[in-house]
Structures are given as C-alpha cells and as structure tokens.
C-alpha cells in the first residue's frame, strides 16, 4: 500500500507483526523505519538508546528472537514476525534481572546512556556462552565479547565485574545441572 501525502516520491507502508516484551503489536510502518526508531519514536519504548545509528556503538542493542542485535540497522519490516526483548522487558515485575541488579551493585555505569545496550548485550552474551567454542569464562572473554558496546564514561572495569558475577553464577548453575544429569 502506498500512501501519497503530497504528489511526490511514494512512501511504502506495510503491515507487520511484532511481539515486543511479550506483547503482540500489529503495526503499519514506513518500510524505512528501523526497529530502533519503531521502538523509540512510535511505541514510546525509549529504553533502547540511539548512540550512532550506524551499528558502531551498541547502545541500541536489543534481543531479537533471543539474540543480541543492533536495532538501528535492523529494518522493522525485515523482522516481521519476530520477538523483541528490550531493556523494559528484562525485569519480571518488580524483580530486576540479575544483570540489572549486578550493574547497580558494581556501579557499572555513570551517565547510563549505554547501559540498556550493555545489559541486553550481556544477557545475549551469557546466553551464547558455549565452553566448547569460547573456552572457559574469563575476563578477557567478557571484554572481547562486550566490545560492541561502547561506554564513553569508561565504566568498563565495573561492567566486566558485574557480568562476571552473573555469568559465573549461571555457568556454575549449569555445571551443577550438568553434573546431576
């Protein structure tokens, strides 16, 4: 469907279906809109941040079908049917996600603008962890795999310690489960 406002270049609007933080949305969108702008400009979900709009900073990181992705370079129309989790959807009610708790405890942010992206990215990182591929969890591994998220405030040492705490609790838990099986 093409909407003509004034007589000029046709803007294409398409209908898409997205599940965002567990809630289904049917939306008519301009094909040009990024997932990030859809969240921020249309849905009022401003947790995902825009730091560069070109994939270069990670501030817009969300979980797209469970995997971390830069929402600024993802066209909304290309992800029709996807499930999106943003920072707003990480906590369970009043209960913060362990990474959110750890970021507060470890003072893993200053201005906070990179933080939603850092936390979503860290959630994706912990989920991806596979010792067969990545080797054992280490600070160097965390640093490398979190390098797609720039923090200009330089909170990196605290970000690493926050993620280390949550990731090692997880992998410890996984080992216990593995051991019991």
């Amino acid at each position: 469907m093409a909407l003509h406002h004034r007589e000029a270049a046709p803007v294409t609007q398409v209908e898409i279906d997205l599940t965002i933080n567990g809630e289904n949305h049917q939306l008519v969108v301009d094909t040009r809109i990024s997932l990030l702008d859809l969240l921020r400009e249309r849905l009022g979900l401003t947790g995902a941040k825009k730091g560069c709009d070109h994939g270069q900073c990670g501030a817009c990181t969300v979980l797209l079908d469970g995997r971390r992705a830069n929402a600024c370079l993802a066209l909304a129309v290309a992800h029709d049917g996807s499930e999106v989790t943003t920072i707003e959807g990480l906590a369970t009610g009043d209960q913060l996600h362990p990474l959110q708790e750890a970021f507060i405890e470890h003072d893993a942010f200053q201005c906070g603008y990179c933080t939603p992206g850092q936390i979503c990215s860290a959630a994706g990182f912990i989920d991806e962890l596979d010792e067969a591929v990545d080797g054992p969890l280490s600070d160097d591994l965390i640093r490398e795999r979190m390098s797609g998220n720039i923090c200009r405030c330089g909170a990196y040492p605290n970000i690493v310690s926050a993620i280390r705490e949550v990731a090692s609790a997880r992998s410890g838990a996984a080992e216990r489960v593995g051991g019991a099986a």
Binding site: H5, A9, G44, G47, L96, Q110, D140, R152, G154
Partner: protein, 687 residues
C-alpha cells in the same frame, strides 16, 4: 594488584540507578510530548564561503515534511547574539567550517525529516579553506587571555640564559590531535512554546540554569520565560557545558511551526557542532643541573580556533603549577582557521599540557639517569610557582610514593627496550596528574517535610558523575540523618540557580550550597530555607588549590605490528575528602580510560582540501572499547583540606584524564626505547 570490585566498596548505590538499568530514565529527546514534530539538521559541505541559494522543492514535496528553515526564513535571534556566534544559527549565508548547520528540516516523522534533509539542495560560493595548524602559521597571534581567564603568557627569570647554562637540556616538540568529547548521548532538545510565550526545553545539558540564561539572551526572551529541564544527561565531558546549536534550532523551529519540535544531532554532527579539543603543538624546554634540579622550564603551545569564535585552550597553565624552577616561561599562540569551533573537553589545558610536560620530565629523568619519581620529588615546589601562593594542600609526593608501592615500581629496571615477552616488548611508565580545585556560587533550598523526610532542591546536573547521589550524602551528613530520608531534586532551571557541571567544580559548588541550606534548616529547627553561597565564595582564601595524582601504566608493544596495549594502569590521587568512594572511583577510572583513548587512538582527521572531518563516526574515530581496558584501577590517599569548602573536597571529574597519556607514552618509551611525542601512539608510529 588484586582487582577491586565496586560491589565491595561501601556507599550509596546511584539514586537513579534503577531507572537507568530498567530503561525508565528518560533523556532529553525521549520526553513524550503530544504533537511533537521531528527536525533534522543539514550541515555545510564547504568549509569557507557563502550559501548562494537553496532549492527546497523536493524536500517540501516529500510526504510529511512540514518546513525547511534556513537563514532566509528562520526567526531572527536577538541582536546581541553576536557574542555567541555558534548559537546565532540560521542567521547568515556565511559558512565558516565544514559541518556548520545551514538548514533545518522539520517533518512529522524522523524518516521524512531525514529524507527531506537529503533532498535539500544547497548551492555554495566556495573559497579555498585553510584548515591546517602549524607552529609557523602566519596567522598566529597572542590572545588576550586563555580559557577560564588565565593569562596568555607569564614567566619569571631568564629561561633562555638558564637553558644555555644548564647541565642538562630537554628541547622537544610534542603534539596532540584534534580530539573529541563524543558523549554517548548525542546532543538533543525538545522545545515547546506555550501560548503565553514561555519556552520549555528538554535538553541534554551540564547546567540547566546557566543554559537557560544564555538561551534567553540569544532568543531575546525574558529569562523568566525560559525553562530547561534535564533530568538525565548521557555524558557531556564539557561538550554540554554551554548550550549548543541544537537548543536554539529546536526553539526556533518550535516557534516557526507553532508546535513542539524535537531534534537530536547525529553522531556525525557531533564532530563539528558541539566543540572538541584543539589540536596542539607544544614545545617544551627543560634545563637542569646534573642532579636533576630544574633551572629552566619553557612551555609554549600553538593551537587553533575557528574564524567565528576565539577559544584558546589553557594548555600550558599546568607548567605554572607543577614544578619549581627559578626561570620559567609559558605561552600560548592561536591561529584562526576554517575549522569547527573548539571548546571544552575534559580537563581543557591540563589534558594536553600534562602530556607534553610529563613526557618532557620523563625525558629529563632519562637524560639525568634518575628515577622519574625521584626527579619529580626533587623539583617539588614549596609554593605555587606562578603566584607564590601557599597550596591549600599538595600531596603529589605522597601519591607518587603510594603509587610506586602499589604498582611495584621499585622492581623496575629503567633500561629501555630490553624486556621481551614473546612477541611483545614490555615497559612501564609514570606521570603526574593535576587539576584545579575551585568552586562557584550556587543556591539551594532545603525543606523539612512533616513525615520526617527532607527535600533539597538545587539546579545541579548529574551527567554521570553521581551528583544526585553525592548531594544526597552531603545533605544527609549536614542534616545528620540517614540518606534514605533525603530527596535531592536537580536538573531543572526552575530550581535554585547553581553552577554548571564543569571545571570539576560541580560538587564543590553545589555541596557548599547544600551544606549551608541544611545547616540553616537545622538551626531554624524545620520549615524551609533558601541560601546562596556568594559571600562564602567571595571570602574564599586566596590560595593555590589543586588536586594532584600519580598515574602508572604498564604496556606491551607488539614488535611485528607496533600495536600497543595497556596491561594495567593505576592512578593514586590526592583530591581532598572523597565523598562517595564507589562513585569517585568510577569517575577517576572513567577519566583514565579517556586518557588511554587519548594516548592510543583518538584523533579526528580533517581533509586538507575540503576541511571535512573525514573519520566522523565511531568506526573512524576510535574510542576505547571494553577489550582496550584490561586492568585500570584508581585509588586515593587521605587528604585533609579545610580551606576549600565545607566538605573538604576537590573535583574529580577531570583529573583522571590528566597525566594518563604521558604515563602510557613513557611506558612505551620504556618498553621500546622509542619516544613517541605525537599522539595518538598509533601502530605506524612504532613500526
């Protein structure tokens, strides 16, 4: 060093922490305002000349585009806006640099505004720009004063003669590049005019009250009619210290359209529209006796500003503070080029100046065959060299000694270029840090609520420093109650007028007002009080007030590739009383990390022919990523200083960046035997 975890350090968790980790904290652009239109700025594609004309036909024909504002049709700003040429936007056809705003496209959606901006045709009459700084540029001149009001040149004795007679001489030229603040949150504003002519701006600013004053002057609106709200700020590092073109653009657009307008600059636009640190060329000459005592210190800096505004960084003022020398000359020369206007970036002056000075001191230590810490201690002044004033406190020596102990400096073999670990050459270096400790008048109110809680209000800003949290602690201490009973409101020009978050003066200035208000409230036994600190600040003792520190770095340099990585960094600081240790550590580390970036990678490059900033994004302009920051730790010594302010604190926002680049460059010399005098220490400079 065993890694410290902030989780184990006592102190308050950031008050807005929960909002920030859940995404609930709304930054300027994110305010939800009914009926808001979206603007996109269009910037010049020439560096010098005039706009010859616009063709907005295609732009206006694009669906959902509402308006194009240019100098031809934008509302006029006030006459005396000339004093702020960077803010007199869309008022003239003249173009002073590549990337200067020339138009604003406003649309119903961001997609439409952006496409409208792309479609706007701008025709220019172009002149050949001059964009290259050199120390022999014919346009160099002596500005009347340098930033923060410091004298341009000063000195004592006869340094030239002393250099002639010195046993040891270091004479070296250092350079630092055009480097950028680049906070993670791009500058952004939402502007709304009310029917009765009140302007409300949600803006990303380091000081809402001061910004509101400037905006009202530029727009020629009564200052009571401009309100700036800025609850959360995604970093600034100086670039949001004064209003930037986005504020005025949004206000003019909202005025022209008669509806709210929001505008966020793009990352690329941050490279030209919001200030940056001037590149510097610095010649340092040190003369010394054979035992390392300085007999002469000459520090001269060459720097640039734009053609429309003079900004002269105070690059050599650190050499007026750091070391005793009977003969001294410090000077600044400036040239006006067809480049974007430089401005404040974290530790203006000290950051580049201390790179040159502390590198030169290291070179002198090598020449003298002395340990660089011993050399520094040997040149410790009794009074501030420039003014002869007493230091309110000065604990550089204690920082050097404590840092040496924690870092394991004593085991270091000073021979350069001899430690090989596999593919790497390894070395360590030290440098001093310094930054002034000042304060400015501010006002605050304090109120005792019936439920036993307290409300403190002050027009302060939290740009990531933890100001909201630190002020809560300061108020709680002054009221002698638990911090949980105190609410501090900041980030709004409607609150009592206060200093901006800049010059590392925020906490000292605001804290002074908060303490005064809380004490007055206690004395009054309840109710509400309003205070300001004009009198106290005017009565401040005329002393030399500075923070100091010592930074240590260990680096490895890959012999095949020239890549330098910092394995560990330690900063030990003497910054008065530390108010919130968790937050202070984060701030200091943040400064050191930015210093690491300055040392190794940060450098904006201007195309010599067009004046375009070539690498104007985060893929081209490298800032440190997580993998660059292996082990950076900051700590401090106990320092009592009763002559600063009621808290006894010195600012900590900027000192961390000072000295860090020199510590790294000195470590690179120790590792490789190669003295890199030009930042950043790129791999090709070591290959």
């Amino acid at each position: 060093m065993t890694p410290v975890s902030a989780a184990t350090i006592d102190g308050l968790r950031r008050i807005e922490g929960r909002d920030k980790v859940t995404g609930a904290a709304r930054y300027a652009y994110e305010q939800q305002i009914e009926g808001v239109a979206t603007a996109v700025a269009v910037t010049s594609t020439i560096a010098k000349g005039r706009i010859h004309g616009f063709d907005a036909g295609e732009t206006l024909a694009h669906p959902r585009v509402l308006e194009v504002l240019t100098y031809e049709n934008a509302p006029r700003v006030a006459e005396d806006a000339d004093s702020e040429p960077e803010l007199a936007v869309l008022q003239t056809s003249a173009v002073a640099y590549h990337g200067q705003v020339v138009a604003l496209v406003i649309a119903e959606t961001l997609e439409a505004a952006r496409e409208g901006a792309r479609l706007l045709a701008v025709e220019y009459r172009e002149q050949t720009p001059d964009v290259e700084l050199s120390d022999s540029h014919p346009g160099l001149y002596k500005p009347d004063k340098v930033n923060a009001g410091f004298p341009t040149d000063e000195g004592t004795g006869d340094p030239d003669r002393a250099l002639e007679k010195a046993d040891l001489v270091v004479d070296a030229v250092y350079s630092t590049p055009n480097d950028h603040n680049q906070p993670m949150e791009p500058h952004a504003t939402v502007a709304t005019w009310s029917d009765d002519g009140h302007l409300t701006l949600y803006d990303s600013t380091q000081g809402a009250p001061m910004a509101a004053n400037s905006v009202s002057k530029i727009l020629g609106v009564d200052s009571g009619r401009v309100r700036i709200i800025s609850h959360h700020v995604g970093g600034g590092f100086g670039s949001k210290g004064t209003p930037r073109p986005n504020v005025i653009l949004a206000a003019l657009a909202a005025q022209a359209l008669g509806r709210p307008v929001k505008l966020a600059l793009t990352r690329q636009q941050l490279f030209t529209m919001v200030g940056y640190r001037t590149p510097t060329i610095q010649r340092v000459r040190l003369g010394a006796n054979a035992d390392g005592t300085l007999t002469a210190l000459v520090h001269e800096a060459f720097e640039q500003s734009s053609t429309i505004k003079e900004f002269a960084e105070q690059t050599t003022t650190c050499s007026r503070v750091m070391y005793a020398s009977p003969n001294r000359r410090t000077a600044h020369r400036l040239v006006r080029l067809d480049v974007p206007t430089p401005s404040w970036k974290r530790a203006p002056g000290e950051a580049p100046g201390m790179f040159a000075l502390e590198s030169a001191i290291d070179e002198l230590a090598v020449a003298a065959g002395m340990d660089p810490i011993a050399l520094r201690i040997a040149n410790e002044p009794d009074v501030e060299p420039e003014t002869g004033r007493r230091f309110s406190s000065r604990n550089l020596v204690a920082c050097l000694r404590e840092g040496a102990r924690q870092f394991g400096w004593d085991e270091r073999d000073p021979t350069p270029g001899v430690r090989r670990e596999g593919r790497f050459l390894v070395g360590s270096g030290v440098a001093a840090s310094t930054y002034p400790a000042r304060r400015q008048p501010s006002s605050a109110t304090a109120r005792a609520n019936d439920d036993g809680t307290y409300l403190v209000r002050i027009g302060a800003a939290d740009i990531g420093t933890g100001a909201r949290t630190a002020l809560t602690r300061i108020a709680a201490t002054a009221l002698d109650v638990d911090p949980s009973r105190v609410v501090v409101e900041i980030g709004d020009s409607a609150l009592p007028f206060a200093m901006l978050a800049g010059g590392s003066m925020g906490t000292a200035s605001w804290g002074s007002a908060v303490v005064k208000a809380c004490r007055a409230l206690v004395e009054q036994g309840g109710g509400e009080v309003e205070v300001d600190t004009k009198e106290e600040v005017a009565a401040d003792a005329d002393l030399a007030k500075h923070g100091f520190g010592a930074q240590f770095a260990q680096v490895r340099v890959d012999i095949d590739s020239g890549e330098t990585r910092v394995d560990r960094m330690l900063g030990v600081f003497a910054v008065g009383k530390v108010i919130e240790p968790r937050l202070a550590r984060s701030q200091l580390i943040g400064g050191m990390v930015m210093g690491l970036g300055m040392a190794l990678m940060e450098e904006a490059i201007l195309d010599p022919r067009t004046g375009a900033t070539v690498n104007h994004d985060f893929a081209g302009y490298h800032v440190p990523v997580n993998a660059d920051v292996t082990d950076v730790e900051a700590t401090w010594i106990e320092e009592e200083d009763a002559e600063l302010n009621p808290m006894g604190s010195k600012g900590i926002g900027e000192i961390g960046i000072t000295g860090a680049p020199a510590a790294i460059a000195n470590a690179v010399f120790h590792a490789t035997g190669r003295r890199v005098r030009d930042l950043p220490i790129r791999l090709d400079r070591l290959l």
